[in-house]
Structures are given as C-alpha cells and as structure tokens.
Point group: D2
Chain length 361, copies 4
C-alpha cells in the first residue's frame, strides 16, 4: 500500500515537532510536506528548527532535509498532501480562517488548535469516546460547500487524564452528576520557551490561563449527542477544575472526586469497567491506539508522571488510588502524556480514525 | 524579665532544628536544654547534628555547645526547664507514654507530634481558632492528677493552608457544609532524608501516608465545641482531601472548593472577612503572631510557595484566586509554610498563648 | 545625617528589583528616583512591575508608589538624585552612551552592566580587592571633562565565587600561575523569564553565552596595577573557565584547581589566609560589607548553594573542600550569591566605598 | 540458537533492575535465575521489588514470576546459569569473597561492583578500549585453579563520559599528559532512595564519597598494558577530578580540560578521530554496541543530559563544545548514561565480548 501523504502545518513548534517525531515509520502515513511561518519558509527543516528542536530524539531522516513551506500557501499543501495536521500558533481568528482555507481547498484538516473546538459543525474527537461525531462532517460540508475538505479538532491536553475514565463509567450506565478535580500539569504543555525556570524550581504556579474553562466546557461537547446534524452539549455533569503548573517535563496528573446520579457502582465494578473498556480505535486496531485505553494501577502511590506517562506508547491513561470520597462518591488519580495523547499522538489517532472511516486517503 | 526556660525534646530532627533556629532571640523564651535519643546524648548539639543540620542558617550560638541530654531522662528536663517542646520521632504509643511522663513531672508539654491529637483531654490548638480549648487542661489535670504539667498539641501541617480561611468564614456566620481540596505538599514535611530525589525530579507523588485522613479528621476537633470539659467534634463540614508530594522545599499549597450551608457570602464579603480576620494571638500581640493571619493576594497566579511561604515571618496564610466554583460555591488557593506555621512556629505560638494565659512560666 | 539620594536606572528588571529590595532601610542611601524604559515611564513602580516582580519579599513601601521616570531623561535624574545605580538592559553601545550622559550631567554612575567593564578609564571594582582603582576617576574626569560625574562598574557574577579567595592568596605572597575552573550557575543570573524550565528540569546546560570569556578576562583587569592613571592588565595567571547552567535559583558554585608559581602555601596556611582576610570594606565597616569576606567550611560536602548563598547578608564567599590537586597544587569549591554579591549587593558595596572615599554624597 | 542462561545476583537493587529491564529480548542471553538477599529469597521477583521497582517500564514478563534465590546459594546459580551478572550491594570484602565463590563454582562473573576493580588479575573492561585485557583470565584461572569460572569488572560510571574520547585521542597517536575535569552526576548513580530531595531541589552537592578517587585511579588500569600476565598501570596521564551531584535523573556530564604531551592534534583532527573511532564491539557488531561509540555534537550548548543520554540505546558517549583551553590545550564536554553505559548496559556489553571470545556460553 502506498502511504498517505500527510502535511504538517505549524511544523516547527513543539506540537509540530512531536508530529514529526511520532510519524516516523507510521504504517499508513508519511510526511510529505512541512509548513511554518514565512520566517522559516525556504529553509530545510533542520535549519528551521536549529536551536529549538526540543525532542529527545534526533530529527527523523525523512524530515531533516525537507524544505519548509509557508503555512499561508494553501496551494502548496494541496499539491503535496492528502491531508494536513494543523498545529499553527496564531490568533484564534487567523487559525479559523486558515483552517477553513485548507478545507475549502479539499484537504482534511486534523487540528490541534483550540480555535475551532466550539465551532458547531466541527467535531471535537476522542476516538474512544465520540467516534460517531464524525457525522458532523456532513453538516460541515453542507454549510461550507466543501467537497473532500473537512476540519476535526482534539480537545485540550488537560482533559485526557480523566475524561476517558469518566466516560467509561457513564457508558457503563453510571451517569456522573458532579466532578471536582485538580490538575498538576507539565511544563511541556506551555511550549518552548514556555514557563520560566524561575517559576518552576522549588515552586508551583496555581494558575494556567484559560485552562480551567477548557477543562470544564470541552467535556460537554465531547459527551454531547448528535441530533439533526448538530452536537447537543451534555450539561448533566457539573465540573469544577483547579489547574496548576508543576515542575514536571511531561505528563498531566489529575486528582478527581466524582459524584454519581441515582446509581453508583462499587469500587470493584469501577475497576472492572476501566480494565475492560475498549473503544472503536481498539476494535479497529488503529496503529496509535493503546491496547488498553485505561490502565488501573494497584500500587498505593501511582500513577506518577515520570513512571506512567509513557504507558502503551504514551497513549493510555493511567489511573489509581480509587477510594471513597467523603463528600462525593469516589476519588481517584488520573494521568496522561500531554504532548503525546494530549496533543500530537491524539491528532494522529484522530487521523487514523478518519482514514479507517474513509475520510482521509 | 527573666526569660522562661524552654527545653526541646527531640532536638536533633528537622522539627527540633526548626525550634532551635526559631527560638533565637525569642523575647520570652530561651533554650535551656536540648534532649534527643540516647545515641546523641552526651554530645554537644553541634556534634549531635553534624552532617544533618538542615537549616539554611548556622546553629545559633546559644545552642551550639549545649550538651544534648537523653529524651527519656525526664528528671533532667524537670531540673532545667519551665516547659518543653516535644518533637520526638518515635512510635505513637511511646510518644504518648513519654509526653505523659513529662506532664506528670510537672512540665507543660507543647507537642508537635500526632500521637496525642485525638486524646480526648488534649487540646489541638490553633491559637487564632480555638484558644478556648485550653479549658481542657483542667480536665486533663483532673484525669491524671497533674499539678502544673499539661499537654497541648498542634494539628498536621497540611491543614494550615486552608483551615484558618475556612474558620474565618464560619466565624463570620457562614457555615460550610462541604469542602473538597487537593494539597501540593513540600518535601520538608517528610523530614530528612525523607523523600528520595528520584521521586521528586520531573515527578509528583500523589500519595502521602496518613495525610488525607489527618486533613479530614483533625478539623472536626479543632472546630469542636467544649461541653462539660470535653471536645464535641464538629461533623457539620464534610471534607475530602487529596494529598500530593511535589518538588518544593517548603510551603504547602491547597486548591480548595467550598460549599456553604443555607447562607452564602459574596466574593467581596469573603475577601473582607479574610482581610479583617484577627484572633486572640493578634489581640494579645504574641511575638510569633502574624499581624494579619490571612493575606489575600489579588494577582491572578498567587499564592506560590517560593514567593509567599515566608509572608509575615512565615506565620501567615496566603490565599488567592477566590472565584466561583461550578459545583460548590467558591474555589480558592491557600498556602502556608509547613515547617514554620505548620510545625515549630505553630508550636511556639501555642507556647506563647499558654504563657499569656498563665499556663507556662 | 540626611540620607544620600540614590536613583536606580533600569529599575524594573531583575537587578533593578534587587536594588530596590536591598536598599530598604539602607543607613546611608535612600531611593529617591526610579527610571526604566519609556514603556514603564509614568506608571507607579507597583504598576510597572506588575506580574514581573520576582523578589520573595513585597515591594518596599518607599518604592511602591514612586512614579517611574524615563531612563533616557537624564535631567530628571540630575534633579532627583545624588548618584545613580545603572542596571539598564540595552545594547552595549547604547549603555555606554547613556552612562556617559549621566556622568556628564554630574552624576556618579554605579553600573552593573558589562558595557564599560573594559573601558580603559573605568575601574572594575571589588572593594575588597582593588579599592585603589578608584584613582582612575581622575583619568576619567580628565578624559571627559567631567566634574562630579564618574562611572564605576562591577565584574560579572560568575567571578565572585573564586576571585576573592584567589586574590587573598596572591596578596599573601603566593602568586597563582594557572587556574582551571568549572562553574554551576543559578538561573536567576539570566533574568526573567530567562532560562526555560524545559531546559532546567532534569537537565544541565553546559553553555552560557559570553560567560567563559568574562570569567577569563575580567580578573586580569581587577588584579591589574594602576600605572600613570591606567590599568595594566595582569596576565600572569592563566585561566580556563567552563560555565554551566544548573537548576538552582540563586548561588553560583565553582570547582577550582589552582597552580602556584614558585612558592606554594600549605593547606593550613591557605585556610588561615582565607579566615583572616579582610579588605577596605571591613576596615571601613561599610554597611554591606560581610564581616568575614571568605568563610571556610570544614564539612566535607559544603558549600552548597541553598545552604550557603545567604552567608553574611549574601555578601560573603563560602569556600570548602580545599585539598590537593593531582595536576596543579590545590582544588577547592567556592560559592557566592549571584544576584546579591554578584549584582545589586556588589553595586551597593561599590557605592558605599565611593561614599566613604568622598566620591558620592 | 539456544540462548545462554544468565543469572543476576543482586537482582532487586537499582543496577539489578536495570539488568532485568535491559536483558528483555536480548538476542543471546536470557534471564534464567535471579538472586538477592535472604530477605527477598523465596518471593517472586514482582513481590521482592514491590514498592521499589524504579524503572519507567514494567517488569518484563519473563522475570515477573521468577522465584528469587538467595545470593549466597552459589549452588543454585551453578545449576541454573551459564554465567552471572553480579550487582550485589555488600561490603567490599564480602563481595570479593562471594564473587570468588561463584567463579570457583565454574561460573563467569560479570561484575558491576567496585570490590574487584583493582584486584591484579581481574580485568576492568571497556570493550572499546582494552578488550585485550581478557588475557588476564588466564592469570586468574592459574592463580585460583579455576576451570571455567572467571571475574570481569567494569569501571565506575563517572569515567564513561570522558574516558573513551580521551582514549580515542591517545590511540590515534596523541598521548595526553594532563586532564582536569569536573563532573555533574545524576542522582540515579546513588541508587534508591539514594540522594534526599532536600539536597537536590534548588541545590547542588559538590561531593560524592569516593568518586574522585575512582575517577582518577581507574583510568590508569584501563589504559594499562598487559605484561607477563599482569596489568601495568599507565601513570603517564595526570588526572584531577571534581565530582558533583546535580538534580538530574540520569546522565553524567563532564567538563574536561586536556593537555597533550609532545604532539597536539588540531580541532578538526580531534573531531575526525572521534567520529571515526570504532572498537572491537563495533567490529564484532555486538548487540549492545553503539554503532558510533563517540557522537560529536556541533550545537553550541550540547551535550545535555536530558537530550543526549539516550543516544544509540544509551550506550554512546556524546561530546561537544571542543574548543581551546587557555591553560591546557583543549576543553570539551562529555556525557554518558550512567545507569546504562555506566552500569548494567556496560556489564551486558562486557558479557557480549566474553561470549564472542568464547569465555561465556
């Protein structure tokens, strides 16, 4: 099989670098094109990332000498790609405009940006949770008159530590009515240079701009139902999020208290639900799908970011410390890798789902 | 005025070292005696702490050459001290036994240990909150037949980041019915060597043995009422605590969500209550009392441990980020210095209250 | 005595903030004026530093409401100050030009910048080492036709960990011919935001732009002799420096190997020389002078940044681990506080020396 | 080919855990037996390491349920293994005794301990440098009357960051006469719990017990010549080492100044020598051999531990910043992974060399 040609728009930032790193030897996709700001355009990818390549591995051979294009040059992408990953760093308004142009040019856009997350006809996908939201593409194409183009987004990285475990319980028939959670988030989430070391040595910063709002609102769309080609936001679960930055390179940790509605599972039932949880990516055996999306750890002091973030290609959520809550019903700790599952890896899984469903390739 | 003679039992551990450091130039107390395990007995304090003096300042001149006594030798303390600070590190059963012996010998014992925290006739004091609990000394003396001896304890360090702000609201007429909180606690709370650096570089540990239980149960006693010479635990506030260890030297941070009962103050009222809050230590102008026990910070990203832990001699609680909670009523961040307010400094404030009330000296 | 009016030019950066912090309650100087870039001009100092005040203490009351002036407005300084501290952050050429303007306006300029460090008629002062270099002011005034104005600079922060111990030995009659040293430097040296946390968590960066060159060349001027109103650089000591950035907030550590010329002291002699070393600041009892400029620590694992940086108001150099070197003669570890002794505190000590010598006030 | 049966004696410590982790899917060896202290004996490996498994990956399936034996029971090893890796943590005298017993029982012992490093008839191997030192086995067997048994050791982890680059130059015909170096060593080198987090947050410890002595003396044996079945230590290179502990998980960094004897290569020659350097492991294509033992990085700020420690399976040495030294001839920075190349990975490479030479299997 000839591999599908993937472009990366915004290839020189942290998320773009992760796409380049993670797509090495991908069985279905190959990097055919890289684009970034006009400042980088015309340079090789090695030159364009000189002094700011942040990955722990070298630039993969296939990307090293690619000539970086201008992200605004949609036509170049159209010629060189079957679809694009979008991780440009711009004002939201400009991102929306640019992603629309790519879609209008017939390119599926798999976006990592927050700009289109609440655009009504754009699905915010976690393939294990709401793969059916791809039906919004029909609405999207109708609204815009697009033919093969489309836009799909992924949610904010902070959600990933708890949304899948929470969804698994809801799906098993135990609706959750209340959730209070506190995140301890890694510095890689802020890009490079991002958080100053003066703020992170011997310190914690109890604030991340916009993060609490995203953590509270995005689940409503992800868990929403599609009715008449629209997402109806699910407002049945009240969420309160406290977001903190801590001196950790990768891996967001969340301490979560949940209260169920009328029915409440036992601790053993919850563990069983989590262990047995599978979604469409597992059924389709997508290349980036973790075999087990939720890994429950029985040790009393896990999950921990340094030890658990890389579980199952850094795509699984690790949970632990499930115990009774004295205010709601239960408490637990969730953890996921913010730059893999929470960013580029999540984007790749979205693209794989689209390929499997015939929207890409 | 001749200074009151203070002994420190358990003088070589981290808390003991903090007592030695903080009592330098105390206006009322002077260190007259230091005791530790038999292993240290007979050495000068400098020798006994060689290689494990953890304070950032040198050993104060007055303590440097004191000959360390054996903590089990109660008679030596009786001769040399008017009262003792107890920070021995032993099994709870042994601590209780030892503290009883000291009290029986006529010495007031100001303890930092958890052993006697739930002993019914021992007050667990935060002088700004429950100074009236000193009335338990009468019960205590009656129960044991003690004359001048007594035992007072202070609560666990993790509480201090939120219990005073919470109490200020209750006292102002706004009972709280529900509280869910997550702490991010400093490594100094675990003593030395304590937490391994392999667990704290690029990592967070979402578990501290016994800490969540203490955080949930101790407030019930502190907020309790004295009836017939007994503390009646206050069970009106449901608490759920998630306790984490983070790579911070000093300063425990807490992210707190609170739900009021029938009445709920506005954000402005809460800030005013906190700003105006004063307790008995402030009225009596005790040497270690912070002028303002609760400092509200308006910056969007404060309090932070490295920047706020030392506020007002490290005895004030800093709070910030008061905002609505989408599940309960409000959310805020609290912070206090765990080894000063939360340990030795809190013990000294207790001793000062006892002196002011005539129980010491 | 009326206090001397000190201005701070470049008051909003990290070094400027340290000046503001350290001058609180200075016995001789009071902050009469603050200036910064046009962007800050017209704001109160509190407003101008909002969100970037990095000190662990609050802004001192006397500075909080001062209206920040424009650093380019020399006339405003002339009216409001008896002298100025300069810590502007600009291109070297612009710094030189600006400092000249201030001096031409009759203001002594105590500079923290590197711009004028090798200007022939500008002394690079460490008051314990080369207080006689103030004789260059005469040359300076003659060259420029200045009346009361003058410029004095301090050396780079990285030197301070070893130059004073090294000088003490030279002064005692033991010239050093060779020195190889490796520094482990704190992140505060790079200002704010400075070093990215992604570079400093679980990492070391073995490079700091320009730092090795400064470490090697500046000692030649400091140790130079004044002949005919000129500094003759001392090139008798060959120096090789390896400079590294490590995850430490404050405090530069240096591992130093030294080789003597014809004569070599014993280990005991060296310790005695260091312990007894005093300079002009100690003789004059200047307010910021450490009582003992060099503190030798006998512990096998000291000095350490977190434990020793604050020694004697953070103005002393701590040394330890003096032992034989298998290549040169001896090895030791030196440490000093980079933002106090190595920056603002060093500047204040320079100003105090100038005041004592009648150049200021 | 049937895999060779490898035992790990001291399997529960940090180095033992690394052996277990790294031997997963080894093409030549399989873990046939695990032994530890009597306290662990009789438990499964999972039970024996519960709460102290420090690796970021799970225990490999093949080791999880192995019943741990008693390290003192040599007979059990003899029955179950073709050779053993020794990483016991005991007094040196006991280690020597134990390793002798294993060798006497006919088992090749590939040791990670320092106990036998200077035993005259035991080779201290770095396969790229002194593979010919295996000729000492003949002496060894003669001395002890051993038949198939033997003992081989690897040097201290701190050496690996510079000894191979230094050797490459010597081998190319440029003897080095002087070397002064400073290491910044990772905390994993101290095992678990090892270094306290109170010593490693916002701090550096400029001392590691015994490390400087090893860094200075071990190269003499490694670079020594075999004459008449003995190693003649090479004392032609004077070495002075300053060893520091820094807040890094894995990866030792060294800042090195070197002075050549009569002949001195150019910078370009040195880079070429390093790039082209190959040893016996590369010629034999041993499974754990890095393809390129020395990787030169041209970036101005590399190598860095977090970014370069994992180069080529964490078995390569990364060097950078080669530049002139103002005291000796050149300076550079070297880096290697202390728990892989510097411990278990180095041990495995030793075993592979022995297998290739017919001493094992």
């Amino acid at each position: 099989m000839e591999k599908i040609r993937a472009g990366i728009i915004g290839a020189t930032g942290m998320v773009g670098q992760n796409y380049v790193r993670l797509l090495r030897d991908h069985p279905w996709f190959r990097i055919s094109y890289l684009a970034a700001s006009p400042r980088s355009a015309g340079k090789t990818y090695t030159e364009a990332t000189a002094g700011r390549w942040q990955m722990e591995e070298e630039i993969p051979a296939e990307a090293r000498n690619l000539i970086v294009g201008d992200a605004n040059d949609v036509e170049a992408s159209r010629k060189n790609c079957d679809f694009v990953f979008s991780s440009v760093e711009m004002d939201k308004e400009l991102v929306r405009e640019l992603e629309n142009k790519y879609a209008a040019a017939g390119l599926p856009v798999v976006s990592n940006n927050s700009a289109n997350r609440h655009t009504p006809d754009v699905p915010m996908l976690i393939p294990e949770i709401n793969p059916d939201h791809t039906s919004l593409f029909e609405t999207q194409r109708k609204n815009h008159g697009w033919d093969k183009g489309l836009i799909v987004v992924k949610p904010n990285c902070s959600l990933q530590s708890y949304i899948t475990p929470v969804y698994a319980l809801i799906q098993a028939g135990y609706p959750i009515s209340q959730m209070i959670l506190t995140t301890m988030q890694a510095v890689s989430g802020a890009g490079y240079p991002g958080v100053a070391s003066l703020d992170m040595i011997d310190n914690v910063v109890p604030f991340i701009g916009g993060e609490e709002e995203k953590s509270e609102r995005e689940p409503q769309k992800i868990l929403g139902k599609i009715e008449n080609g629209q997402v109806v936001y699910d407002q049945s679960m009240k969420i309160s999020a406290h977001c903190n930055r801590v001196p950790v390179i990768d891996g967001h940790t969340a301490c979560v208290s949940i209260g169920f509605g009328s029915k409440k599972p036992s601790i053993d039932e919850i563990k069983a639900i989590w262990r047995e949880f599978k979604g469409v990516p597992q059924e389709l055996d997508l290349p980036f799908a973790p075999r087990q999306p939720i890994i429950y750890r029985e040790e009393k002091d896990r999950p921990q970011p340094r030890k658990d973030r890389d579980a199952d290609k850094a795509m699984a959520v690790s949970v632990g410390r499930l115990r009774e809550c004295h205010v709601f019903d239960y408490r637990f700790v969730g953890l996921s890798h913010n730059t893999v599952r929470g960013a580029a890896g999540g984007g790749i899984l979205n693209a794989e789902l689209l390929k499997a469903k015939g929207f890409i390739g």
